[in-house]
């Protein structure tokens, strides 16, 4: 019998927790000390229990007391106007009662040996209440997932479906109990039954939060991977800039030498040698001098590096750029977007015969437009809204490249469109100015 009381307390703890999660979907928590918050919740649980015992007969009075006390405590815990909180608590309680009611009706309809009178025994009503709480827990989590703005819950739809096995199983087991254990002779059997039911309830909650924590940790690992990729790209870029700078300085010094050499060859009428010599330095110079200037150091570095790379690979690189000196984007973000876009374009382009890359990077009155179109051999596959890599090696690191771009674009409130076509692929990004 004692066990029934423990069971009852636990059910109320569950109810109050669900209420807290429910309100938490719509309101922000107040900045309170953990001790104080804990105290309020314990207070609420105890008061609920007392009300449940005292007003056992009178449902209406019980609800009024419950709703009043719950809304006051929730108002102390959350940042929301009292009336809005009252509405939320009322709707929560409404769902609570509705679920309990529906559970009873469904049980009585589906199982002819269960009657409403049979369900009034303390054991049975506790079990019915347990079913109701599990369903309430699932409902509250579903509401939080679909309406909540906090990204703390990271289960996808599929994973959620797999999780629902637990509450579903719990509900079925408890229904089985109710349908078959009306007449229990020993109080020991009652206790064991309640123990099992309690354990199942516990298990549901533990499992849910366990999955949540595991997934959150995985998310963190992925974030770290993204970060590492970005750092790698940036380092490559800075190294390229510094090499380029050194080379250009060297060229300036060599200019004088070249001129003397040319004059000498010309004066000695060694025209063939002169021809060879000029071709040689022409190629060397072309390899180093920057052809594109957008008035933005980092953009220049990336674009020129990629332009040269494209030339070396025999890719026609068509550019449309303008003055980018007032770009809103941070250097590191710019590097992420440009290097990934252009790397992917060059890589895809290399494999086909007609190699063309069209690159547009302009700052307009209201937006920044970055667009890369490249010819390619095979059609890329879009699965689950994520691009599948056609690369045969290291598939993971390339998927991350595009996701990095998408995350960076989101950071600036921008939008993008990816358009894979028969023989070409385009990725266009629009980032608003404010």
């Amino acid at each position: 019998m004692m066990f029934l009381y423990i069971f009852g307390i636990f059910l109320i703890i569950l109810e109050v927790s669900c209420c807290k999660i429910f309100i938490g979907t719509f309101a922000k928590k107040k900045n309170l000390k953990t001790g104080y918050r804990f105290f309020l919740l314990i207070f609420l649980i105890s008061v609920n229990y007392v009300i449940a015992i005292l007003c056992a007969g009178n449902i209406l009075i019980k609800q009024i007391y419950l709703v009043t006390i719950t809304s006051i405590v929730m108002w102390l815990l959350f940042e929301l106007k009292y009336f809005k909180l009252l509405t939320l608590v009322l709707s929560y309680q409404g769902c609570n009662l509705l679920i309990d009611y529906v559970t009873v009706i469904v049980l009585c309809r589906c199982f002819p040996n269960i009657t409403i009178e049979g369900l009034e025994s303390p054991l049975m009503s506790s079990l019915v209440s347990a079913i109701g709480k599990i369903l309430l827990f699932c409902l509250v989590l579903l509401v939080k997932k679909n309406l909540g703005t906090d990204s703390n819950d990271v289960l996808t739809d599929v994973e959620w479906l797999r999780f629902t096995f637990f509450p579903a199983f719990t509900v079925i087991v408890i229904i089985a109990f109710i349908a078959n254990f009306e007449l229990l002779h020993k109080s020991q059997q009652v206790d064991i039954l309640l123990c099992i039911a309690l354990g199942l309830l516990f298990m549901n909650i533990v499992v849910f939060y366990l999955i949540n924590d595991i997934l959150r940790r995985e998310l963190q690992i992925r974030k770290d991977k993204f970060f590492k990729e970005r750092v790698k790209n940036e380092t490559k870029m800075y190294r390229s800039i510094s090499e380029n700078y050194n080379n250009q300085r060297k060229r300036a010094h060599e200019y004088k030498n070249h001129i003397s050499c040319i004059i000498a060859l010309l004066q000695n009428k060694r025209y063939d040698e002169l021809n060879q010599y000029l071709n040689k330095i022409d190629n060397e110079i072309r390899a180093d001098i920057d052809l594109v200037d957008t008035n933005h150091v980092i953009a220049n570095a990336v674009i020129n590096t990629k332009y040269r790379e494209a030339q070396e690979k025999g890719i026609i690189f068509i550019l449309k750029v303008n003055d980018l000196s007032n770009l809103r984007l941070l250097d590191e973000d710019l590097v992420v977007i440009l290097s990934n876009l252009l790397n992917n374009a060059i890589e895809a382009c290399e494999k086909c015969e007609n190699k063309v890359i069209k690159f547009k990077f302009v700052q307009e009155k209201s937006n920044v437009i970055i667009s890369v179109t490249n010819t390619m051999k095979s059609l890329p596959i879009l699965m689950n809204g994520r691009l599948q890599s056609t690369k045969s090696y290291e598939t993971e690191s390339h998927g991350i490249g595009i996701e990095n771009i998408i995350n960076t674009v989101d950071k600036y409130g921008g939008a993008f469109v990816i358009k894979p076509q028969q023989k070409s692929f385009s990725f266009t990004i629009l980032i608003p100015n404010q």
């Binding site: 072309r286 001098i289 920057d290 052809l291 594109v292 200037d293 957008t294 008035n295 030339q311 026609i316 690189f317 068509i318 550019l319 449309k320 750029v321 303008n322 003055d323 980018l324 000196s325 063309v356 069209k358 690159f359 547009k360 302009v362 009155k365 209201s366 937006n367 437009i369 667009s371 179109t373 939008a415 993008f416 469109v417 358009k419 385009s426 266009t428 990004i429 629009l430």
Partner: protein, 241 residues
């Protein structure tokens, strides 16, 4: 027949471009005519005759009147003539972007041939595109419109108002459903931003939640349900090189 002008103060490049044009057009069997100018000033002196040219190749780094300035002067005569900048290096010149050149060809010996082919391909298809015309039966009579000149079409209780750009705003009226007209003008540059508006993206300056601002300053509402699709079309349009 395509009339082309080439303006460069280095004879070497004038000849080079003429050669490239020659091989391209003879290959495609398109008749063309090339006029050459050795300075920006001599080109601009042609005044209104510039309108005869379909395409003008301009060297950016000319001594007296540089390519950008020449381009600006050309644009005062015509917004439609296709401009191609030929340059040793691609600088950002803000003015350069405003004159709306279709391509920048880099005087890079290796790549210039292939770049020229791509450039001419694009020009030929663009010139065709800009001349797409359709006949509409307005209340004012049957008229043939260049689709590219239509700014937007508004529907007001089954009465359609066509706002057309002929260097000044001209309105035409007809009684028809906007759906039917949208079906008739099947161009990617037209976007149904609202039940009552079919807009030519060329004249859209900015897109916000939930309206568009046109180049003439007018603001039209975008339907919330259509916003995502409109945004996609707008982005694709903006990304065209």
């Amino acid at each position: 027949m395509l009339k082309i002008a080439v303006c460069d103060d280095e004879k070497y490049y004038i000849e080079k471009i003429e050669d490239l044009l020659g091989s391209y057009f003879e290959d495609k069997g398109i008749t063309y005519e090339v006029d050459t100018y050795e300075s920006g000033i001599s080109l601009v002196e042609q005044g209104e005759d510039i309108l005869e040219y379909d395409v003008i190749f301009l060297d950016v780094n000319m001594k007296e009147l540089d390519g950008i300035e020449t381009a600006k002067k050309i644009r005062t005569y015509s917004q439609d003539v296709v401009l191609v900048f030929v340059t040793a290096y691609l600088t950002y010149s803000p003015e350069g972007y405003k004159v709306n050149a279709i391509r920048y060809l880099l005087k890079d010996n290796d790549g210039i041939e292939r770049a020229m082919v791509e450039c001419l391909d694009t020009i030929v298809s663009q010139v065709d595109f800009k001349e797409i015309k359709q006949i509409f039966e307005f209340q004012e009579g049957k008229k043939e419109l260049i689709l590219d000149n239509i700014i937007y079409i508004e529907s007001n209780l089954h009465k359609l108002i066509f706002y057309v750009d002929y260097n000044k705003l001209v309105k035409y009226y007809m009684y028809k459903k906007l759906d039917a007209i949208e079906e008739k003008i099947k161009l990617n540059t037209f976007c149904r931003i609202h039940k009552s508006y079919l807009v030519n993206l060329k004249y859209v300056e900015d897109l916000q939640r939930y309206n568009v601002t046109l180049t003439n300053g007018q603001i039209l509402n975008v339907a919330k349900a259509r916003y995502k699709e409109v945004l996609n079309k707008y982005i694709l349009f903006k990304g065209i090189v």
